[in-house]
């Protein structure tokens, strides 16, 4: 078994109201910053998975992302592998 580390990114879908993003965008003026637009706030979840190979590990993470970490009605998500990769300590 090998341990794989993944990151799952979850973002509000296109067209879904994102009051957090709007609030952040509204605050930019207070920083004196111009030219920043279309702020969207999502979340990133990092986790380690023990599996026989990368494909199996990715399958587990994708299931977790689709069933729990994101609500597919309102959010889109994607999975990336992040290091380090190795045998469990």
């Amino acid at each position: 078994m090998t341990t794989y580390r993944f990151a799952v990114s979850v973002m509000p879908k296109e067209g879904i109201l994102d009051p957090q993003g709007r609030a952040v965008e509204g605050s930019l003026g207070h920083l004196g910053l111009d030219g920043v637009r279309d702020v969207r706030v999502g979340r990133r979840v990092e986790l380690s998975v023990e599996a026989p190979d990368e494909a199996a590990a990715r399958g587990t993470v994708e299931r977790l992302a689709g069933e729990l970490l994101a609500n597919s009605l309102i959010e889109r998500w994607w999975v990336e592998m992040v290091g380090p990769v190795g045998a469990p300590a």
Binding site: I16, P19, Q20, L68, N71, L73, I74
Partner: protein, 222 residues
């Protein structure tokens, strides 16, 4: 039903008893529903609303029994956070987003009752609107347009924000509460249990509890 972080469970219990129900608190790790005819998922912040409101409560051990109860035609009412749990569990359609105002909204609203032929609304007199309080940060009802059309076409919208109080959270088509296709699972954002005695400012919420008592009794008598 009490989840870790529920905070309207005792209010719901009190309102249910006031309506004449033989009501008790269930814990989210209970193996079964102790023969209940009606299950109420109360308001609050189950699991701290971590991840998304209702997302973690959906995986509580008792939810298997709640699904089975709903599949048998048993009555389920989700109030506020309980509505969020029902959407996450797929027991009613839709999702509840952060309020369009970005603020936690707590105030009185007025609800139109779209149907009175359901176990949740049968005791509501014709033409009557309900005055109930809301208290939520994530109550903006969302369903993609075509699915919302379908929901409307089958009579799935049970309550709408109405009157001068208006739509407090930006919900699509003023939806405040929905009912599943079979007509035995309902979720709404306003709190009927907080409008259960004149002392609280309104008794309108009791119309829902009385409806449920009547329909549960009718089912039991069959």
């Amino acid at each position: 039903m009490v989840f870790p972080g529920s905070n309207c469970d005792r209010d719901a219990l009190q309102a249910a008893r006031l309506a004449g129900m033989d009501a008790q608190l269930l814990w989210h790790e209970d193996p079964d529903l102790r023969g209940s005819d009606l299950v109420i998922l109360p308001g609050g912040f189950a699991y701290g609303d971590y991840l998304r409101a209702g997302a973690l409560a959906r995986f509580s051990p008792v939810m298997g029994a709640v699904h089975a109860h709903a599949e048998r035609g048993g009555l389920v009412l989700g109030i506020c956070n309980g509505f969020q749990v029902l959407t996450e569990a797929g027991l009613v359609p839709g999702a509840l987003l952060r309020n369009a105002s970005s603020r936690f909204e707590h105030r009185w609203v007025r609800l139109s009752v779209e149907r009175r032929d359901t176990p949740f609304t049968q005791a509501v007199p014709a033409g009557v609107t309900l005055r109930l309080p809301i208290a939520h940060g994530e109550g903006c009802y969302f369903l993609p347009g075509p699915q919302l059309d379908e929901l409307e076409a089958r009579g799935g919208v049970l309550f709408r924000y109405a009157g001068p109080e208006g739509n407090p959270n930006g919900s699509a088509r003023d939806v405040a509460g929905v009912i599943n296709e079979r007509g035995n699972v309902c979720g709404l954002m306003p709190h009927p249990e907080r409008a259960s005695e004149a002392l609280l400012g309104s008794e309108d919420g009791m119309l829902l509890f009385r409806s449920l008592l009547e329909s549960a009794a009718a089912v039991a008598a069959r």
